[in-house]
Symmetry: C2
Subunit: 420 residues, 2 copies
Amino acid sequence: MDKDAPKRAARRRFLRAAGSAAAALAGGPALAGNLKNLPPNVPEWTRALGDGVAVRPYGKPSKHEAHVVRRDVQWLTASRESSVSFTPLHELDGIITPNGLCFERHHGGIAEIDPEDYRLIVHGLVERELIFTLADLKRFPRVNRIHFLECAANSGMEWRGAQLNGCQYTHGMVHCVEYTGVPLRVLLAEAGVKPNAKWLLAEGADSAAMSRSIPLAKAMDDCLVAYRMNGEMLRPEQGYPARLVVPGWEGNVWVKWLRRLKLGDEPWFAREETSKYTDLMADGKARQFTFVMDAKSVITSPSPQAPLRQKGFTVISGLAWSGRGKITRVDVSLDGGKNWREAKIDGLVLDKACVRFYAETEWTGGEMLLQSRAIDETGYVQPTKSELRKIRGVNSIYHNNGIQTWLVKPNGEVENVEVS
Amino acid sequence: MDKDAPKRAARRRFLRAAGSAAAALAGGPALAGNLKNLPPNVPEWTRALGDGVAVRPYGKPSKHEAHVVRRDVQWLTASRESSVSFTPLHELDGIITPNGLCFERHHGGIAEIDPEDYRLIVHGLVERELIFTLADLKRFPRVNRIHFLECAANSGMEWRGAQLNGCQYTHGMVHCVEYTGVPLRVLLAEAGVKPNAKWLLAEGADSAAMSRSIPLAKAMDDCLVAYRMNGEMLRPEQGYPARLVVPGWEGNVWVKWLRRLKLGDEPWFAREETSKYTDLMADGKARQFTFVMDAKSVITSPSPQAPLRQKGFTVISGLAWSGRGKITRVDVSLDGGKNWREAKIDGLVLDKACVRFYAETEWTGGEMLLQSRAIDETGYVQPTKSELRKIRGVNSIYHNNGIQTWLVKPNGEVENVEVS
């Protein structure tokens, strides 16, 4: 088949369909959507003087967007201090996540740190033990990098089958922002890393003292001690005033409220890398230190929380990301993986960052089984869930990057399903 | 002189200075900054269980960052409904502006639009007059672009000399976000543009019915009807639910609360392009339709609101942008323009978007006259204020892209000055 044919056909369909989706001013075809037959005159809000400047010195969304919020699932965890709230992926577009909607994952609640009293300690196998204040960190040369952050447990409930209905819950433990921070290797060079140092312990100042071991090679590569996200200081729930940024690796190692970096010659086997954040295999053995988040994608619209409301021209939209580098291609299927078409990636394609993809179709009201699969610059292809289970079994919680399936029903509702 | 020498020297100095800026754990040199001699033990916030997830379904900054807000200058305008609040550039880094801190400029306050009742009318010299709902707009193919938005009046108070003390006020009518929207040419193609159409009128639904004429060639090039910024829906003060994005052109033509697009064969000479947003020259004539924002830059730190607090290694940081394409180079001077060094541009360099630049120096406590100058891909070099005045006189308000000078005093305070 001519590989460009679907694209051209979709374009033709789009132009026809969109023509019917807009109402002519006088006597034209009725808008297929929710046109209320307002006359084309001056709307009520033009007759009133609005709020002046700086009524909100720090702005917030329209009251009409009050439904666009992080949400938690209360039965998922025993307490809200050690729990998750999810990014509303179905309500977003582009690649940047606004700071107020970045998902949260805490192990002992949000540490409330006075920035004047913040300290970062560097010790262990170093030439000089050091303590940095926040003012010290801000004096260093810094860099700006856009990266995704995904929790290792994202999609973790889906190992044994489709569970949660909505991409906010199945895939919403991911966000993507611009970080500003000091390269970790610059701080470590200040302390002087001893030749026998091979691992780094990063410890948070939260009540869980969240601690993770990171190989020194990664620490010296592209990690940052970040204090800003999307220009402003980190939000409290994202580790204010400073966190580790570990590009492409599971979110758990991006230690928040960072208070301590210890150099050592072996990993520490901390609580969160033994009891949790290991991959329990079918034979009962657990894999440790599976840090990298493999290529993954999800269709964010349509999806269970963003049903189809109208037949005709439809843009399918989603996000893809890979912890191993850049996304090079995203494919979309409308029939549960039997046939695939290449999606269009629009906007920035950056190393270890989300990309936005779109695929156009004409929805005639039939059932669709929507899927997306991401391919990264290493050639890795996002696997199906059954391919993943053949290797990993179903005991695990972490690193589920299997292809997601959404069933679009004739009434436009969308459901989380699996195809065999 | 070896052109890399200053850079290498700064690096050597940095390593020495930063070594002295961090305290050794036991008995080492005292931190030159504000170390409070806390022992390296468990801080108070680690002993308390913090707030759980979704305590704030839509997040906000730390209470310790409450000073990072948009600010207005009340004597600047007769009313706050037709006024400005400024982006706190001195408190930001990177290139993305968080939505809550994007400057505001209103002519009749913030229109409060119910998205269900929102309509966009396309009429005039078109084949088919159309009305789009917001749902219609969201069904179209869309694109994602990061662009700066600068008000034509940014730095407008500085024509007759240094006036406002702080880059928030002198340069804070600029922000840079990721927009998601429909290419304007796609919407216009739906309506069918008649061959004799040469101009487009864009009208807002605010009480000022803010209207501007835009040449059709620009409308068909890179303009968007945008409904999202940094992933989420536009903020009310930024035109919720839809605004025009006119990359590289003065902010006034980026019509907010967009309600009407009319095609015509000549400009409309609307109020805001005759009484205002024209450039009054020395001879009393006014230039009209000077849309493009020429290359410009400003040092955001140090600056009057971000004084130097410590001698030694210092990172000078700033923003640069050009309405004619990409920034290719930024130079920094420490002596009021006598000598220049090339700054480091870090992070993304995008078409008609802000770039972040840094220059490192060793501040010994002497006076500095800090300047930056931007150069774009057309070869245009940001002019000095006196070069600008030779051509433009001092009668204008708009399009002041002259080089800014900050005087750093021995006590670290910074003042807005001019050098002759």
